[in-house]
């Protein structure tokens, strides 16, 4: 039991360092920084490179790695995040995701995409108290963390720039008026955060004994959860959140096994958020002074689409393309269509209700698995399984999300992210092997299996989806849901039950996500949980933001650009993700409200 505690403290140590970085950047820039995740992987790989490849001693490599991470952080902030944070925090958040993609792939190109054995630079089990065993490495790690945290808290309390950081975190405008160099403060925070991320990465490698370029995302996620747990923006909260999460997680894994790891992490997070909506040390104002969710919505007017565009698009998309295209183009087309369905359905949650849910992979997975299982085992025809998949996804997602609708602002995004991850992890626990031989759709005795067949099915579903979304937007219900996203307090005062309409919007989006999942499953004929990753959730979010978060047809444009674009870049496999990331950054930079929305 005591060993578990030690393991928990060491785990918590890493989370705490990462969480402090995330919280620091969130505090001064109001941006959730996904790029921070990449530094965990980078820190480990750099250390491996210096120690193993270049033969440097560990103590020389350590400062080098920190400086390198800090410099990369500075470059990212000046080039990408700061210019965007001015427009729209959401756009900046997305761009940090793009940066994370670029960093991860650059790292894999440079270091190779395999995990490396990390040399044992310090003994790991040479000491003991009673029968509790630990090593110099553990003592050193905890010592460094303690030192770093003490220095940082002294700096924040007494240092000139430290005071500037605190002032900027509380009120950026006022800080600027008082002559605090906000740009410098933000750069500095980013640099500190990046170095801390690198340090956490080194610790992971020391602790696990393996340096893995792809290790960033999982650790990053947990560090992010730790920061949320403590209350985003609160540094003490981040440290407490890190250790609490590390220790609880270790005991959870001890009790339920390692495969339940992610479920444990996010169930802890959801429980804390439901009880304390602002995290352990965070405070939620009694009446939000400004509509929190509204800050997600870009203020711009949609470009007016002439009426003739619709029939033309219908003819081109539904008749011309399937007639003239080859199978390769058509199968890309089916992907575009399915993501357009999921994205269009998602706009009612993300755009109208103002809830930027980050876990749509969850309901997509439910739809896919439901449809696969009932067609395989109960021999339900595809045409019946499709709506059942949507309904099941909506029902399960609604039940799981029922407690979270009182959670506000960024926290609700994180809670939905947690729900998505928990759903997929739970499916992995129940059905570990994946499902194969999922039947193709049939009409009478005709089996539909060609890319063209699927294209027509997907196109039909997309047209129906857009019709439904159009009807909802034009109705009284549509306006009411939009009012929830625009200003919750005012909506309540007008007699709108805010929580219920958020739940309804989420259920509608989950329904269409479930349809999309079902379509994917019958097209692939094989599914396992690796398909329904965090990347899938973020892809959905990116698609709607790119098209205009409030425009269902924008999701079609977003899907064409993102899915089609990714496919078009397939000839350059390694550069693909990097170019994709760059395109994303540029699109967000010049059209922060979406491609079909004029800037205002």
């Amino acid at each position: 039991m005591l060993d578990t505690l030690i393991a928990g403290v060491l785990r918590g140590n890493v989370y705490a360092l990462g969480a402090v970085g995330i919280s620091l950047v969130f505090g001064v820039m109001n941006v959730v920084n996904f790029a921070q995740f990449s530094f965990f992987g980078l820190g480990a790989m750099f250390t491996w490179f210096f120690v193993v490849k270049l033969g440097l001693p560990f103590w020389a490599a350590l400062p080098l790695v920190l400086v390198l991470c800090a410099l990369i952080g500075l470059a990212i902030n000046t080039a990408v995040v700061r210019p965007l944070a001015k427009y729209l925090p959401l756009a900046a958040m997305l761009s940090t995701y793009a940066v994370a993609l670029i960093l991860d792939n650059a790292s894999q190109m440079f270091f190779g995409a395999t995990s490396r054995v990390f040399p044992q630079v310090l003994p790991t089990s040479n000491l003991h108290i009673g029968n509790m065993r630990f090593g110099t490495a553990d003592v050193v790690m905890l010592g460094i963390t303690a030192f770093v945290l003490v220095v940082m808290s002294l700096f924040l309390k007494y240092g000139n720039l430290g005071r500037g950081i605190r002032a900027t975190a509380q009120d950026q405008e006022a800080a600027l008026q008082m002559g605090i160099p906000v740009a410098l403060v933000q750069n500095l925070s980013f640099v500190i955060a990046s170095a801390l991320g690198g340090l956490a990465g080194i610790f992971i490698a020391l602790y696990v004994g393996v340096a893995d370029p792809a290790s960033g995302i999982n650790t990053g996620m947990s560090a992010f959860v730790a920061a949320t747990l403590g209350g985003l923006g609160s540094l003490l909260g981040a440290v407490i959140g890190g250790f609490v999460l590390g220790i609880l997680e270790s005991y959870g894994v001890y009790l339920f096994g390692g495969s339940a790891d992610q479920i444990i992490v996010f169930v802890i997070l959801l429980a804390v958020l439901v009880i304390r909506p602002g995290g352990l040390l965070g405070k939620v104002p009694l009446i939000s002074s400004e509509p929190l969710t509204g800050t997600f919505l870009g203020k711009g007017r949609p470009i007016r689409i002439p009426k003739w565009v619709w029939p033309v698009a219908f003819v081109v998309g539904g008749i011309v393309i399937p007639l003239v295209s080859n199978d390769y183009l058509l199968s890309t087309g089916t992907q575009v269509l399915v993501y357009a369905i999921i994205g269009a359905g998602f706009t009612v949650t993300a755009g109208q209700a103002g809830v930027m849910a980050l876990g749509q992979a969850g309901p997509i997975a439910i739809g896919a698995y439901t449809s696969a299982l009932i067609t395989l085992h109960l021999h339900v025809p595809f045409w019946v399984a499709l709506p059942i998949a949507g309904i099941t996804a909506a029902v399960i997602a609604s039940i799981l999300s029922a407690p979270i609708w009182g959670v506000k602002g960024h926290y609700i995004s994180i809670a939905t992210l947690g729900i998505g991850i928990v759903i997929v992890a739970a499916i992995q626990l129940i059905i570990p092997m994946g499902i194969q031989g999922i039947p193709w759709p049939q009409i009478g005795d005709t089996v539909l299996f060609s890319a063209r067949d699927f294209y027509f099915i997907d196109f039909g579903v997309l047209v129906l989806t857009l019709l439904v979304m159009w009807r909802i937007r034009r109705s009284h219900l549509g306006r009411v849901i939009s009012s929830v996203g625009a200003d919750e307090v005012a909506a309540l005062a007008s007699g709108v039950r805010v929580r219920d309409y958020k739940a309804l919007a989420f259920a509608i989006s989950a329904f269409f996500a479930g349809l999309g999942g079902s379509l994917l499953a019958h097209q692939y004929t094989y599914i396992d949980t690796t398909i329904f990753s965090m990347l899938m959730s973020l892809l959905v979010v990116t698609i709607v933001i790119l098209g205009g978060v409030n425009l269902p047809y924008g999701a079609v444009v977003g899907a064409i650009i993102l899915i089609g674009g990714l496919e078009a870049l397939r000839f350059t496999d390694e550069l693909r993700i990097i170019i994709y990331g760059l395109v994303l950054i540029l699109a967000v930079r010049f059209r922060p409200g979406g491609i079909l929305v004029r800037n205002s």
């Binding site: 009284h476 200003d487 007699g495």
Partner: protein, 285 residues
Amino acid sequence: MSKPLLEVTDLERHFEGLKAVDGITFQVAPHEVVSIIGPNGSGKTTTLNLVTGTIRANGGTIVLDGRDIGHADTARIAEDGVARTFQNGRVFPTLSVADNIEVGIHSTLHASRPFRSLSHLFLLRWIPLLAELFVAIFGTPGARRERQQIDATVQEEIARFEARLGSRRDDPAYTLSYANRRRTEIARALALKPKLLVLDEPTAGMNQSETAEVLDQLLQLKADGQTILLVEHKLDLVMTVSDRVIVMDGGRIIAQGKPDAVRQNPAVIEAYLGRRRGLGGEDLR
């Protein structure tokens, strides 16, 4: 005085030890215009927030038209016929002026919201939600008739501010001037056809001519028999429009009565001008 529409008894609310509202009791009769005045921090806005359910009271009762609304949620209170505006103005920035007003009508609708009597019940609330979704997608004859009523009410409310909002009907609210946002907010509140209209500083940030315009509109509402609970700093407006004035200081009611009586009340003068000057004036006599 006839039976009061709003009856507030021993209302209390404290924030971490500070007694913002400290046991106040007052009534508002039907068709009456009552204003609450007092120095900054005296608890006026907190009182409005308590009456409209935006925040919960720590003690006391609030009775509207014979029903205890002290523990009801904000949406329920709106359904019971209380509409409000906010101190700094809260419109739905991304919605058009017309859509802003349409949201105000929400709690008066029936055909677009079938089974709405279940909407406050655990789990059963999904029945009205899904029914509303069904009506939105497929439509019903009743909902189509109600749509015409909605459009008529929106038109009626915009007509109230025709010169200002008429040409901006379809503009998103974030593009409006501050004063026009306030007008949109008042129109949205009136669209609810409230028994009690609660206005929190409707003329804040407006210039003299705009304030005069609001005064005219308030007098018009008063002539129509609208019951109003008003918080306002501009005393000229308060004294002109109010039937009764309540003066708050330090979370308590220090005086209430007809505008002229309150104006002469020494406690009020003291609260507004300070003890020494208030008493000093008397010493000189």
